[in-house]
């Protein structure tokens, strides 16, 4: 069952990502981006990361997609059918470069010697993974907030500072003066 779900979700994910980078009209790319985020959320559910999946839906599929659509609305170009794809030879160089990078990462994660053997890459789905509770939101909360044990309180505070700076910076940059 998980196998079938993985393949369906992965194929839809890669297909919609290709649609995002190949669509001629930018609004179609934005709608494809929504599908990419939703399918990535499905991948996270397969990996027992319920909290990440919900956050993915909330922040990416909800906030970021709407933000991008608003930016598209505010930067309406004179010709709405304008092509966003490259018109020169640049796309070929970009294709070669990204294919090389992807091939390098694939090689490093599959064929390179002892790349994943330490991490249980040969075990079937789920087997050999550490026994996790049915819901790991409690663990994540303890990790993020608990100041007593080994935790991520300080990075969490820094992340909140980053968000504050981003809010103020976005307002200052986007302000009409």
């Amino acid at each position: 069952m998980a196998t079938l779900v993985f393949w369906v979700v992965a194929i839809i994910l890669v297909g919609s990502a290709l649609w995002v980078v190949s669509a001629r009209r930018i609004v179609h790319s934005a709608l494809g981006l929504f599908v990419v985020f939703a399918m990535a959320s499905g991948i996270f559910l397969l990996l027992n990361a319920e909290f990440i999946a919900i956050v993915q839906i909330l922040i990416y599929a909800g906030a970021v997609t709407i933000l991008i659509l608003f930016a598209l609305m505010l930067t309406r170009v004179s010709n709405p059918n304008q092509d966003t794809n490259p018109n020169s030879k640049g796309w070929l160089a970009a294709l070669v470069m990204s294919a090389l990078v992807a091939a390098g990462v694939v090689f490093a994660s599959t064929f390179a010697r002892s790349s994943t053997s330490l991490l249980g890459g040969r075990t079937p789905y789920g087997a050999g993974a550490c026994p996790l509770p049915p819901n790991n939101v409690i663990y994540i909360g303890q990790l993020l907030y608990s100041p007593t044990c080994y935790s991520y309180v300080l990075p969490f505070e820094i992340a909140s500072l980053v968000l504050l700076v981003a809010i103020v910076g976005a307002i200052v940059i986007g302000r009409e003066d």
């Binding site: 290709l18 909290f51 993020l144 980053v162």
Partner: protein, 110 residues
């Protein structure tokens, strides 16, 4: 059939393919917002990789601490901040130059 059932390698390859697609979008597209979409796809690919490592990790201290998922949360935070600032910059540029085509935004080019 070991090739069909998803293992860590499957998720890593999926992340690599997504990363390549996003990289192509970030390199080749002309609209600045489309470039931002490519960057978001790349960040998602990295998130998939991190969560997969967190799931298949068998080294006890780190697997109980769910380090990969925590990293993914921080990446999502930074990605949201980055999207907000980048879109504000794009709108600001559009207000001054009336274009979002990165080929025509050449003020800092030499």
């Amino acid at each position: 059939m070991d090739l069909i059932h998803p293992t860590l390698t499957h998720f890593l390859v999926l992340g690599a393919v997504l990363f390549g697609i996003g990289l192509y979008g970030a390199l080749a597209k002309r609209n600045a917002i489309a470039i931002l979409m490519g960057i978001e796809i790349m960040l998602n690919a990295v998130n998939i990789t991190l969560v997969a490592f967190s799931f298949y990790n068998t080294v006890k201290p780190y697997s109980t601490f769910l380090t990969g998922q925590i990293f993914a949360i921080f990446i999502i935070t930074v990605a949201a901040a980055e999207a907000a600032v980048a879109l504000a910059m794009i709108i600001s540029i559009y207000r001054k130059r009336s274009t979002v085509d990165v080929g025509e935004i050449n003020l800092m080019k030499w």
